[in-house]
């Protein structure tokens, strides 16, 4: 009898340990709302693999336009409006265009999905910390398995703006981070989110991405927690490419499928890394399959190895 009661208590404790504190979920929502509803301009540092790059990000919330300018090296720019992302590459005089169609609403982290994140991550409030003059609250997302990375988020206590984010691997090593070194909230004019690049004579490369069924292509086994978000066809360097995206609600992995016909050289197969991004390339049924994702190498490789083609 006593043992039974102890078991009940233990079970209750175990359930409580899995429940997320409402405060930490409220902080995630606060960060999300600040990111969407505030106008701001700030300089941030992106660090990965011993390299760091400084960029400026400016958002005009009333028009839902955001601009990213690379401040080191080539002055590349990205401008995102409600339905388009334009990428300005001055050295090649090229504008790359990604359009969003109504049934492809970006991105997937909706308020009701924040609660679902708790299935894959333990979400808890961490210590308070001062970053770049901002008093920050930290929110730690610790993965419940080794298929995904952990995230330490640092949000400004008053505005909710995400001041810093660190991606950590299973051993707790920081593998990538974004940190604002300066941030001004408000006072953004439409002029500030326009591109500075003279793009009238530049070549426009439209990816023409559109939802489509990639007939015959499947995964022999899905990665636990990663569900198919979208399946589409697009153009890349003027060649047709299929893309299937899987996500666990926070991390995403894309599978790109390109025909090998017409390629002069066989593709290089294997794993490449860029901070928290892993890229794994292999050949399947006379196609090059490239899996790109912000997930540990083993997860990206598992998805890549599960890709198969069955003649319909």
């Amino acid at each position: 009898m006593r043992l039974g009661r102890a078991a009940v208590v233990l079970c209750a404790l175990a359930t409580a340990a899995h429940a997320q504190s409402p405060e930490s979920l409220a902080w995630l929502k606060k960060i999300q709302e600040a990111t969407r509803n505030l106008s701001y301009t700030g300089t941030f540092v992106y660090q990965q693999g011993g390299r760091s790059e400084t960029s400026r990000i400016t958002r005009l919330a009333s028009a839902d336009i955001e601009k990213l300018e690379v401040l080191d090296g080539l002055p590349r720019e990205l401008v995102r409006s409600k339905d388009t992302v334009r990428c300005y590459l001055p050295e090649a005089k090229v504008v790359k265009v990604e359009r969003r169609t109504p049934d492809r609403t970006f991105p997937a982290l909706l308020p009701e999905r924040i609660n679902a994140l708790a299935r894959h991550y333990d979400i808890a409030l961490g210590e308070a910390r001062r970053i770049g003059g901002f008093e920050c609250q930290s929110v730690k997302l610790t993965p419940r398995d080794d298929l995904r990375y952990g995230y330490h988020l640092y949000a400004d206590r008053s505005s909710g703006m995400l001041i810093g984010s660190v991606t950590v691997d299973a051993s707790g090593n920081a593998i990538e981070q974004f940190m604002f070194t300066q941030l001004t909230i408000g006072n953004v004019t439409p002029e500030m989110v326009k591109t500075r690049q003279a793009a009238s004579d530049w070549r426009v490369e439209d990816a023409q991405a559109a939802p489509a069924k990639l007939t015959g292509w499947t995964l022999s086994s899905e990665l636990p927690g990663f569900e198919k978000v979208v399946e589409l066809k697009r153009r890349m360097e003027s060649k047709p490419v299929g893309q299937v995206v899987y996500s666990d609600g926070l991390a995403a992995v894309s599978v790109f499928i390109e025909p090998l016909e017409g390629r002069r050289d066989p593709p290089r197969t294997g794993l490449a890394s860029l901070g928290a991004i892993h890229i794994y390339t292999r050949e399947v049924a006379n196609h090059m399959v490239t899996v790109v994702g912000e997930a540990p190498a083993a997860s990206v490789q598992r998805i890549a190895n599960a890709v198969e083609y069955r003649r319909p």
Binding site: R80, L89, K96, I175, A252, L271
Partner: protein, 164 residues
């Protein structure tokens, strides 16, 4: 051996015994385990800030990357001012932690990946990396927490595989 390690930490061993104990620490055995555990305990008792996970491995890697000193200066026994020395060491420790905790380590992910799967061949980033990232980034839910910041990867100048 555990008692010896404890005594070593407390500075209670004579030179020869200390040498033996230090030698034992070179192996990855019980002695090293005890050394780590006792330090952890003493840190906890003194309420010292704990090192982040993986600190040892990262410090070892940093040390491995340090240039080797070919001609070290002669070691001379100087009278050690214990308290000052210990204090300096602990301050240096905290400074290093603060700094390491916020500095992603180069190439951490690759050796880990290789350790998990020896068959995984590492290659340079594909020449179309930025195109893949631009196509991928729009579907990353992180954008709703972070705005466009993660897009910086799509325009960064990465050392990619040369286009043939």
């Amino acid at each position: 051996m555990k008692e010896r390690i404890s005594a070593l930490m407390d500075g209670e061993l004579d030179e020869r015994a200390a040498d033996e104990a230090t030698h034992a620490l070179r192996g990855e055995g019980e002695a090293l385990e005890a050394w780590r555990t006792y330090h952890l305990i003493s840190d906890a008792m003194r309420d010292t800030r704990l090192l982040s996970a993986g600190f040892t491995a990262r410090l070892a890697q940093r040390l491995a990357n340090e240039p080797t000193v070919i001609a070290p200066a002669n070691l001379r026994r100087a009278p050690v001012k214990r308290i000052a020395f210990a204090a300096a060491a602990s301050i240096a420790g905290v400074g290093l932690v603060g700094w390491l905790a916020f500095a992603p380590q180069p190439q951490t992910s690759q050796p880990v990946a290789q350790a998990q799967s020896p068959a995984m061949k590492t290659i340079p980033l594909p020449s179309a990396t930025n195109d893949y990232l631009l196509a991928h980034q729009g579907f990353s839910p992180r954008v709703s927490l972070q705005g466009m910041a993660p897009y910086v990867r799509t325009v960064a100048e990465h050392p990619v595989e040369p286009v043939k």
